[in-house]
């Protein structure tokens, strides 16, 4: 196998790299760019721990190849944290203790922010439905649902 040149934006920075065609995006982010906030839980697209944004859409980074992101804009938890885009959501997660071990959390925040961008006031069932591809073994989900609901209310200018 011969490495292939790729060029893409990651968290707003231009990245040029040579990667093997078989390298998935999760491993590229973690091993080549050292963006270890993207976690690998199952490597077959079920657990959601590796969720990142590619061109604005959330994807399982274990299920796409790095070479498929040629010219794409990739955003990871590090990027969303540094830009402040999800600061309120992170605050709600902290106040509600919506994470324990934290391994699912980057993916969970990605999925939650995706929902909040699509829907200004999702109800609890919609929140649970939208998170249904993100596995959390620690919390039992309720605290996560609460934190997202709180963030939705506060973004909509409402109080619970």
């Amino acid at each position: 196998m011969t490495p292939v040149a790729i060029s893409l934006d990651v968290n707003g920075e231009r990245v040029e790299a040579h990667v093997l065609p078989r390298l998935n995006l999760a491993d590229f982010l973690r091993e080549h760019l050292k963006l270890t906030g993207t976690h690998v839980g199952c490597e077959h697209g079920i657990c959601g721990a590796c969720t990142v944004r590619v061109n604005g859409e959330i994807v399982r980074s274990c299920l796409i190849l790095a070479i498929q992101t040629q010219d794409a804009s990739v955003e990871t938890i590090e990027g969303l944290s540094d830009s402040g885009e999800i600061a309120d959501l992170q605050r709600a997660f902290r106040d509600r203790n919506a994470l324990q071990c934290g391994f699912c959390t980057p993916g969970m925040l990605m999925a939650a922010q995706d929902l909040l961008k699509q829907s200004s006031e999702p109800d609890r069932e919609q929140i649970r439905e939208h998170l249904s591809g993100n596995y959390c073994r620690c919390t039992g989900y309720q605290a996560i649902v609460d934190a997202i609901e709180t963030t939705a209310w506060s973004r909509a200018g409402r109080t619970p």
Partner: protein, 797 residues
Amino acid sequence: MTDAPETRDALSALDRPNSYIGKTMPRPNLDRLMQGRGLYVSDIELPRMGHVVFLRSPHAHAKITGINALAARQLPGVIAVVTGQELATVITPWVGVLSHLKGLKSAPQSAIAIDRACWQGEAVAAIVATSRAAAEDAAEQVSVGYDELDAVTDMRTALDPTTSVIHASLGDNLAFERHHDAGAVEDAFAASDEVVDVEFIFGRHTGVTLEPRSVVADWNAAEARLTIYQGTQAPHMVQNIAALHLGLQEAQVRVVCKDVGGSFGIKVHIYADEMATYALSKLLRRPIKFVADRVESFNTDIHARDHRCRGRIGVKRNGTIMAFEIDDLTGIGPYSMYPRTSAIEANQVVNLVGGPYVTRNYRARARVVFQNKNVMCQYRAVGHPIACSVTEGLVDLAAMKIGMDPVEIRRRNLIADDAYPCASPSGLRFEQLSHHAALAKLIRMMDYDVLRAEQAALRARNIHRGIGIASFIEVTNPSAAFYGVGGAKISSQDGVTVRLDAQGAVICQTSITEQGQGSESLTAQIVGSVLGVSMDRVRVILGDTDNTPYGGGTWASRGAGIGGEAALQATKVLRRNILDVAAAILQMTPGELDIVNNNVVNAGDGTSRIELGELARIVYFRPDTLPPGIQPELMATRHFVPRAYPFAFTNGVQASWLEVDTETGFVKLLKHWVVEDCGTIINPQLVDEQIRGGVVQGLGAALFEKCVYDERGQLTNASMADYLVPMSGEMPDIDIGHVVSPTLESELGAKGAGEAGTAGAAAAVTNAVNDALRPFGTIVTEIPLTPQIILTALGRI
């Protein structure tokens, strides 16, 4: 005992202005995890690090006739291919037995199988390369010759004379057997008006931690020292075992535990592939990294449960429970796990059945047998879900038989709240439980009568909802009785060191560990409260055998109760020491001073006298200005272990409200309630979230989770696509209430809450399903409660 969290009079050290005890405080380490800036083992990279991939047996039981790695060794990036025989030159085998589990036997287990593989997934060779991908490529080029052997897969026939014996040297496939007979069981059954006799079946399931097991082992040949980075719950246990089997002194092994992506008991054991990774580092004189993939996790992370338990209950028509009897059978795989053994779960089942109830008549047999399946061992709430499901299932079936409400039969038989101290029928000693207060609170929370009326109204419309109740007891704060007395070097005590730094902040080193429960937070809350400093001034260091006191770690709901008490006592000493110095500086007596909000103040009127930073400055940089004869000690260490009781017991009760679709067999969980008594509550939010998370793990076992093996010992659903775990969409909201009965064994009074949720969830769900199915005259006693099981019970398939 009180109905709401209160601070006891005795807790003077905690009952201070600005105390954090009993308050919800955000955990200090959350921002790091939320920003993707944690450090899990899989994130760690070291210079010259090699990556190991294990080639694993595709057969449940097979003789290894040869391993040919010539082609693999030629591939680019390959550092070494190591067989079990070769690795045995640096690491010795082990036998997972403990002397207090009388009769427990197991066979020597090697880090990598030598000559014979005993389950599908056992490692037969290690391939080390410069990347995991290169190692995986090379693994495909290693050819292993196997002669398949008979696989023992069905626990029910494992002891038959016609079944082959897995380890000939042991004589049979029986690992452990325990009998218990208390009271007058035969007489009690004879005097019963009704006897219920059923078999309960519990699926084999596993922990599915989101972060797979991972290790980086770094043998530094120049220092003759091994550093192990591992997501473990018990760093000192890992240090002891690694040293023992690598022929090192414990001082030559350092175990570092950074962030851990979930453990729940999965990461409290030492696995063969982890031992192999330590040994490979020593053999190859470089850092070696092992990260299990998800298929490996399913095939090698310990499995749990997999019990078949026949249960009998005798009851009088007035609801008096006369006796319990159980006959429990469990299959544990080919080896008893090391070092905690695989007999503990069955032992716990015997200990816990009937535990909440008054009757003293109890007979039990438990048998633990070997099989050619993955190893089984302790997972969250060890034995509790089985004991609770059997006990509470029997109580409900007895109530059904005599036409009594399930709440009423419990009211008539639960041990009275004023009857303590007392003992269970299996001889466990209870200090103070609160079954009746908990049940009363649960009934109020769930509005029981209204729910019953709703259930009846819906039944008329062919909607079948059920209410299930499950009382439980939970073992917490284990003393040396758990492992130490059996010869395992697993500490039951924990230690905490606190010191005031040069700017008046506090550094606290504790031997308990953090896997998300909030160990760091509860330690900081205790230290801050007792010392009189704000929590943001307290930094907690854990998970490093070089830099913490010696101790057990975090498992069996012991972090708050044992580690928390050590933190309390250490901080009291530091506080006294600070006040001694302050008194010398201020020319007062220590009794006239207090520490409040980071300041030494007049005890009488609260006037600030000296900021802790200023005191520290004087002590560390201008000791020449202190009165003669004063040697300040701004660092203190204390250890704690429970001595009066071998275990603390907590109690609680759960309820499930659900709907059974009698056409499809699907169960929809509508609501779940828990009332728990974990003694003193340090951080209510953390306790509640421990319980919620625990409940959901129990709900997974109740409805979804099962490792499905075929008759040849092949695990057929080793992926997250096939093994179902609870996801957000199926889970209900869970309401939690508390009763508070602090233990008097410690000043803190905390017991523990880590297992409570998992202990009773499946029992509540099964009872609720049976309640829903009541009009159909059928019952279910097997979990997971898949549609197939429910439709079979309904006679639809």
